[in-house]
Amino acid sequence: MSETTGTPPLLELRDIGRDFGSVIALDGISTSVRAGEVTCVLGDNGAGKSTLIKVLSGVHQPSRGELLLDGTPVRFGAPREALDAGIATVFQDLAMIPLMAIWRNFFLGSEPTRGWGPFRRFDAATAKETTRRELLAMGIDVRDPDQPVGTLSGGERQSVAIARAVYFGARVLILDEPTSALGVKQAGVVLRYIAQARDRGLGVVFITHNPHHAYPVGDRFVLLKRGRSLGDFGKDEVTRDEITSMMAGGAELDELAHELERPTPPAP
């Protein structure tokens, strides 16, 4: 662990594990998320990244270990509880409804209302205006808040989801593979929003299998393999190449390179 300063991290994981029946999906994961920092969770397919997010966001409960929020142990029974504690998750499927307008999606589940009793209604004017303003603040210029989310590009959808989480007072933002389905340019746009969220003082958990996306923006790196942690590094403790090589399992990669080499023609 790099700095053990006075203030506890926003979110700390101590030996977190999770079983599904006899399958140990996750075991012995420890790391921390600090305000204004990006913690990257890296791993290949099936490494346990998705399980880890689901534990952090309250979808699953950990079977072992401790989750600390501001230094105090917490336990989330449902996504709503994690959300109320300021942990917002942008799921891979984005938790957005394609047929609904951007502003309806933006406030889904937390709609502003006006009036009272039976006349309490969804304050659409405020919702539309806020959506437009908040997206603009993130540098996203939506053409029309009334357009269905289904008509947005992948990168735009990610950006809307991030802006939504930031607006709703998230202190910890968990991003599940936000760049994996995107082209180079779109991925760059999303990385910029991650940096923006970080600069606004949020603690970001960035899950990805791409070290090239993680390294430039990350401050801490947790590497997962087959449900176990390969280590928890500060940026000064590790290089991009080391991460790549550890993810692919160094020796395995060398072996693969050897295998793929052209057979040298036998000397005549």
Binding site: P79, I97, L99, M100, L108, E111, R120, A124, E129, D146
Partner: protein, 350 residues
């Protein structure tokens, strides 16, 4: 964009959009297809029959449209929420029969029968919703089960209590006059009596539209039907929304059942069976997607209006009424194809 107080930096004219024209804005409305359909059907009959547009003619085709429309509105909300209720038709019968059996056989006032009917239908609606939420099975199967069970109960219990297959004598129960005033009176406009149910229909449509478009609950209905898992992830109480929708459909079935019982004063045990599909047809003609997440209450009401106009119009033109169902089926297919084309056009062109 309706923001008049937009900051000057806001790009009012974005080069990426030509401008969302009025036509395109109209096209994304789910009820547009039904509106066009209603106008065409009205014109078709109005040109050929003067009775059709006379006050008595209008009263005649608004009547079947009204009770169907009340149900279609509720069914549309349920379909937008992503579910079907095949028991909705037979439940109107359950409600009407309960009014008859309780108030006549147990010699109470009719209002007690009406309240018992409300309790029973709401309980059935709750059970439908609860089972769907709990089991995760398609509502089609769950409500097909409750449909068949209610059909059996309607017949069995009516025979048990009355010894016949109908519950009669409602007209002489205590409190009948006040119940008639609420559920089955007429309002005379231009010398022509109109059924009060038409007024209730308009009010229900307005209420359903308001709830759908202007309240939190409405937002949850669209979200639950659009993607249930995603909406749960952002904190929408999807289970509660689904159960509420099933209970709303049940409440509409209660209302229509009471209207029927008070109008007829004698209820056959098989009443309402088969209507559940007509409610769905009206909702689909009104722009509801079978997959949920899209639709409108006004559209469903227009679908009901098309149904009423066609049913009576065919009689005025002295066509064989056998053609009615052929026409309804063709209308349904046309509506589904039109809605699909419109939606694709509207979404692709943004």
């Amino acid at each position: 964009m309706t923001t008049t107080d937009a900051p000057p930096s806001s790009p009012a004219a974005d080069e990426r959009v030509a401008s969302v024209g009025l036509l395109k804005r109209l096209l994304v409305k789910p009820e547009l297809g039904a509106l066009v359909g209603a106008v065409v059907v009205f014109a078709f009959f109005a040109v050929q029959s003067s009775v059709f547009v006379s006050p008595s003619g209008i009263a005649n085709w608004l009547d079947p449209a009204s009770t169907l429309g009340i149900m279609a509105c509720a069914v549309a909300l349920l379909m937008i929420g992503g579910h079907f209720d095949l028991s909705a038709g037979v439940m109107t019968g359950t409600s009407a029969l309960t009014v008859g059996i309780v108030s006549v056989q147990f010699e109470t006032t009719i209002w007690v029968g009406i309240l018992v009917a409300l309790a029973i239908t709401l309980a059935v609606g709750f059970l439908n919703g609860f089972l769907v939420v709990r089991t995760g099975l398609p509502s089609f199967i769950i409500t097909l089960g409750s449909f068949l069970m209610l059909q059996g109960l309607n017949l069995g219990l009516t025979k048990l209590f009355t010894g016949t297959v109908n519950a009669g004598g409602i007209g002489v129960t205590d409190g009948f006059d006040s119940a008639e005033a609420v559920f089955a009176s007429t309002v005379t406009i231009a010398g022509q009596p109109f059924r009060i149910a038409i007024l209730w229909w308009v009010l229900f449509t307005a209420l359903a539209t308001w709830v759908l478009l202007k309240t939190r609950f409405g937002n949850w209905v669209f979200a639950t039907g659009g993607d249930e898992v995603a909406s749960r992830n952002v904190g929408v109480p999807a289970a509660r929304t689904t159960i509420t929708l099933f209970m709303t459909t049940a409440a509409a079935a209660w209302f229509v059942g009471v209207v029927y019982a008070v109008r007829q004063t004698s209820v056959q045990a098989n009443v309402g069976i088969g209507n559940e599909l007509i409610y769905i047809v009206a909702a689909v003609i009104g722009g509801c997607l079978l997959t949920g997440g899209f639709g409108s209450a006004i559209g469903a009401s227009l679908g009901a209006l098309i149904f009423g106009m066609t049913q009576q119009g065919i009689v005025y033109l002295r066509y064989d009424s056998d053609w009615f169902f052929f026409f309804l089926g063709a209308m349904l297919l046309l509506a589904v194809l039109t809605n699909r084309a419109i939606r694709r056009y509207a979404e692709a062109r943004r």
